[in-house]
């Protein structure tokens, strides 16, 4: 009988690692950014993900989610409310997802092809220990922590937090009642994963979502970026990535604004703006700037709602924007907020150079022969709050549209009878 030592030097999870490497290649080839969301049970992964999916869709990004749980498909049902394709993975007692489960569930997923996706989110089983050992081929691992869990969570679970590429603090709306020590939590996370990007969010109020979505757009190579041409500038984490993936390219060209109502109509009788779209962008820009000045910048969906129109140029994805808006926002509160911003923006324009106020007036004028929500908001901000409560006036707007269409047709049929057409200003 002889004793022999056989050197193996083999990874115990080699099988998983190989499968994960294959998945990583597939994601990269399809151009999809895969993210693995890990946290304790009850941190609010599902609520956070639901909001993320909804808002990314409003930005025109193609998203899908796989969600892992021991039992039930409750989370998948909740996530499906976002309108994104969602597939549940039941692990039946296993405390983590592994690469094989992902591989299996990507197959035969009706309506979902990696090639047609921008983002694939994987919501792991609620567990801060086991999922950290299993690579799912993701490029970004996100560790989540809620304000109710205690600031020392990263110190208690260093293995998970140290393996994360981004950290998200959820339920920030509860920070105060919970006596959450924000500084300490941020310090603890940095202590375990130096240089990590941290997002402080509330899926309920939407706070902090913009920074998170901009980060996703950056990591996703520009997909889901804002549509107003603003370059997303987020400092890169100094931490060394786990995966040898090349750093994401900065967003260079802003995605084009899409149109839904055909060619932008020329805005008659205004010198400064050649189209309604241009005028709208100018006004939205001013309102957006004003919100930034107050220290409470507009959320993506709030800003996009300003482009809403019953008639005239608007965003291609406006239906999704409305859907998101209706889910998370109170229209009365929103209109009051925007009215306030318009008032101060107009005052600023008036107090500033003459030219600025002129541009403001011209922009409003350029829009005035169409039915833009922005006009209602501007009217509501002024002395004549006649169009306050957009919903209540939907029928009125439709009626006016019908009359206008009739007039337009009549004008088309009788061009000789039309000499001068000066639209009345709503301003």
């Amino acid at each position: 009988m002889t004793t022999r030592i056989v050197e193996l030097r083999r990874g115990i999870l080699k099988k998983n690692d190989e499968l994960a490497a294959g998945l990583r290649e597939r994601y990269a080839a399809a151009g999809v950014l895969a993210l693995n969301l890990v946290s304790s049970p009850g941190t609010g992964k599902t609520a956070f993900l639901q909001r993320t999916l909804t808002e990314l869709r409003a930005r025109g990004a193609r998203v899908a989610a796989l969600v892992g749980d021991l039992e039930t498909d409750n989370d998948a049902q909740r996530l499906a409310a976002s309108g994104a394709p969602v597939r549940q993975i039941n692990t039946h007692g296993i405390c983590h997802l592994d690469a094989e489960m992902i591989d299996k569930h990507l197959e035969g997923w009706e309506g979902v092809e990696l090639n047609h996706l921008d983002f694939l989110f994987i919501e792991n089983v609620g567990n801060l220990v086991c999922p950290s050992s299993y690579d799912l081929g993701e490029r970004v691992r996100v560790a989540l922590l809620s304000v109710t869990e205690g600031e020392d969570k990263p110190l208690k679970y260093p293995t998970l937090f140290n393996s994360a590429d981004a950290a998200v603090i959820t339920k920030m709306d509860l920070a105060e009642p919970c006596g959450f020590d924000r500084e300490l939590a941020l310090k603890n996370i940095q202590e375990i994963r130096p240089g990590i990007q941290i997002f402080e969010t509330s899926a309920k109020t939407g706070a902090g979502m913009k920074a998170w979505l901009d980060y996703l757009a950056l990591e996703g190579g520009g997909r889901g970026a804002r549509l107003d041409g603003e370059t997303v500038a987020i400092p890169q984490p100094i931490a060394v990535r786990r995966d040898p993936t090349p750093p994401p390219q900065p967003v260079e060209a802003a995605p084009e604004l899409d149109e839904v109502f055909g060619e932008p109509e020329p805005a008659s009788n205004s010198e400064g703006f050649s189209s309604a779209r241009e005028a709208k962008e100018y006004l939205v820009g001013l309102i957006d700037d004003e919100a930034r000045r107050t220290g409470n910048p507009l959320m993506e969906v709030e800003r996009k709602m300003l482009y809403d129109s019953a008639k005239g140029w608007t965003l291609r994805e406006i239906d999704q924007v409305r859907e998101t808006f209706n889910l998370y926002h109170d229209p009365v509160e929103y209109e009051e907020k925007i009215s306030g911003l318009i008032r101060s923006a107009r005052l600023r324009a008036r107090a500033g150079k003459d030219r600025q106020f002129e541009a403001w007036s011209q922009a409003v004028h350029a829009l005035s022969h169409e039915k833009h929500y922005l006009l209602d908001l501007i009217a509501a901000s002024g002395e004549t709050p006649r169009l306050r409560g957009r919903r209540r006036n939907l029928w009125l707007v439709l009626l006016v549209c019908a009359v206008l269409a009739g007039v337009a047709i009549w004008m088309g049929l009788h061009p000789d009878d039309v000499k001068v057409f000066v639209p009345s200003s709503t301003h």
Binding site: R4, L8, L13, S132, S133
Partner: protein, 117 residues
């Protein structure tokens, strides 16, 4: 919690490599486990007894070598060992360090077998 899955993988992997040594008895399986591998040795040992039953590894001993976390410290230009997992700071200069050189290993180092000639 996931130690049983890990031990199952160990059994599969070792059994596979025994094909080259027909009739050999496994005496010992030696692991290298990083301090950040999120694996608990006690749990491993407990699961090992269960998972090896009726396999060629039955009755063998599991030896786990825990490897400390080693980080590269840029300012010191040196690889430094962390005394614990509560702070990723260089123990020499106190700077935060992000470049890991060791600590996540989860591998079978070697096995000791007994062959009958």
């Amino acid at each position: 919690m996931h130690e049983l899955s890990i031990v199952t993988s160990i059994v599969e992997s070792v059994t596979e490599s025994l094909a080259a040594y027909p009739g050999a008895q496994v005496k010992e399986v030696r692991l290298r486990v990083g301090a950040l591998a999120s694996v608990i040795e006690d749990s491993l040992q407990f699961c090992y007894g269960i998972a090896t039953e009726d396999t060629p590894l039955d009755g063998s001993k599991l030896v786990v070598k825990i490897l400390p976390v080693v980080m590269h410290c840029e300012p010191c230009n040196a690889d430094v060992e962390l005394p614990g997992l509560q702070s990723f700071r260089c123990p020499q200069c106190g700077e935060l360090v992000a470049d890991m050189r060791q600590g996540r290993e989860l591998e079978i180092d070697s096995i000791e077998i007994e062959e009958n000639p």
